[in-house]
């Protein structure tokens, strides 16, 4: 924990490593539970009591209930899990990326059709500093 990691200097990226996985275990188990219809029903009926079955931190709980997608990743969530929570809200992978990048669905989709986010200028945090 707290160690410098080789990938710390990649911008806009949370690598889901063992530290993040340990931090996000309950949060991710909550998200993945929504893969199944009966659980989605229960969550819809009473979000607060449903989520309380998963003993996560207050920050994680708040981020999950308020759909703070980047914050969820920072707090130990992984995209393959948080995407299930997104799907519950009717948000698909591409729309979710539109939200996380702050571009919005239309501009994000256009960026992808135009070839995606280029690698140049997006390798190192230092390249994002005057963004």
């Amino acid at each position: 924990m707290g160690q410098q990691k080789l990938y710390d200097d990649i911008p806009g990226t949370i690598v889901f490593d063992s530290d993040q996985a340990a931090k996000g275990y309950q949060l991710n188990q909550f998200c993945i539970s929504l893969r199944l219809a009966p659980n989605r029903e229960a969550f819809k009926e009473n979000p607060e009591s449903y989520i309380d079955q998963f003993p996560m931190t207050p920050e994680q709980r708040e981020a999950a209930l308020n759909q703070q997608w980047n914050r969820l990743l920072e707090l130990g969530g992984n995209i393959y899990y948080t995407s299930k929570l997104a799907a519950y809200h009717g948000i698909n992978f591409q729309e979710l990326a539109g939200l996380m990048t702050g571009k919005g669905s239309t501009a994000y989709r256009e960026m992808m059709v135009a070839g995606g986010r280029p690698i140049d200028g997006n390798r190192y945090k230092s390249e994002w500093e005057d963004k």
Binding site: Y7, V15, A21, Y25, I79, A87, A97, R117, R123
Partner: protein
């Protein structure tokens, strides 16, 4: 004896499964992608493998955060398409080959690959999308499948070099199986893509091209690509490309590239696809 005749590399973007299942695979957005696989479907009809050994990753479907095996070999007689949150894909149940699976499992462990054995497993888009791309929409998949699920969700995924070595051990296992079977090995996932946080949407076509060239011509070097390079250059989810090296390891040093297709984008991802035939 069983033998390996060919390899297929193929992205497994979930949106391609949705496009096929909802009948929009011919539209302006998806049409060009499905077109790139028309050759492949014809090739498959000629090749007619008796069995597919399919390397893929599970996306928190069969394995949630409770259990994360690095390599898990399917040993069941069938694998049902899983509900990933919007109902199971309307595609045929995947038939297995439990006898061959058991043989491979034993051979791998005795060859120092301590894999996990899955006697029951549902399979997600990681496995079913490549079948759709290569076979279209048949009533039954034309041959049995032995699946190998690789952890690429929680970092670190196995090293490319380890995947490559595992491919070689899988080849040894298959070639020591007494039944006369023609086997095609699939490596799935990729290409460059990042699904998460502010850098989502990253695509690195130049890197993808170099990756495909190395895979064909210099896999000894390509399998040494380090995790940090995948993460930085191919995106945090692009690291699943290590799975292509399991497929490559199972083939001869000398292969002929029969087909290559590359397209940007499918949803958030660069689609890459290759067909490799073994050559002496």
């Amino acid at each position: 004896m069983a033998h390996i005749s060919s390899g297929v590399a193929c992205s497994h973007v979930p949106a391609l499964g949705v496009a096929s299942d909802t009948g929009i695979s011919g539209d302006d957005y998806y049409g060009p992608i499905f077109k790139g696989f028309e050759f492949s479907k014809q090739w498959m009809e000629q090749e007619k493998p008796d069995l597919i050994f399919l390397v893929y990753n599970d996306h928190c479907t069969a394995f949630d955060a409770r259990i994360i095996p690095t390599f898990a070999l399917g040993c069941a007689s069938e694998y049902a398409p899983a509900d990933e949150g919007w109902g199971p894909r309307p595609v045929p149940v995947v038939k297995g080959h439990p006898e061959l699976s058991a043989h491979i499992a034993q051979s791998l462990v005795l060859d120092s690959f301590d894999i996990t054995i899955m006697n029951e497993m549902e399979v997600d888009h990681g496995l079913t999308v490549p079948l759709t791309m290569m076979f279209g929409q048949p009533d039954q998949w034309p041959c049995p499948v032995v699946p190998l699920a690789v952890n690429v969700v929680q970092y670190p995924a196995p090293l490319g070099s380890r995947c490559y070595a595992l491919g070689k051990a899988i080849r040894k296992a298959i070639e020591s199986y007494p039944e006369d079977l023609k086997v095609c090995v699939f490596g799935t996932g990729g290409m460059s893509h990042q699904l998460q946080h502010e850098r989502a949407g990253l695509i690195n076509s130049a890197w993808d091209e170099r990756f495909m060239n190395l895979l064909v011509n210099d896999p000894d070097q390509g399998s040494m690509i380090e995790h940090i390079e995948y993460l930085r250059e191919a995106g945090s989810e692009g690291i699943e490309l290590v799975m292509w090296y399991v497929m490559r390891g199972a083939l001869n040093r000398n292969v002929e590239e029969i087909h290559r297709f590359y397209h940007v984008p499918a949803s958030n991802t660069a689609v890459g696809h290759m067909i490799l035939e073994n050559r002496p």
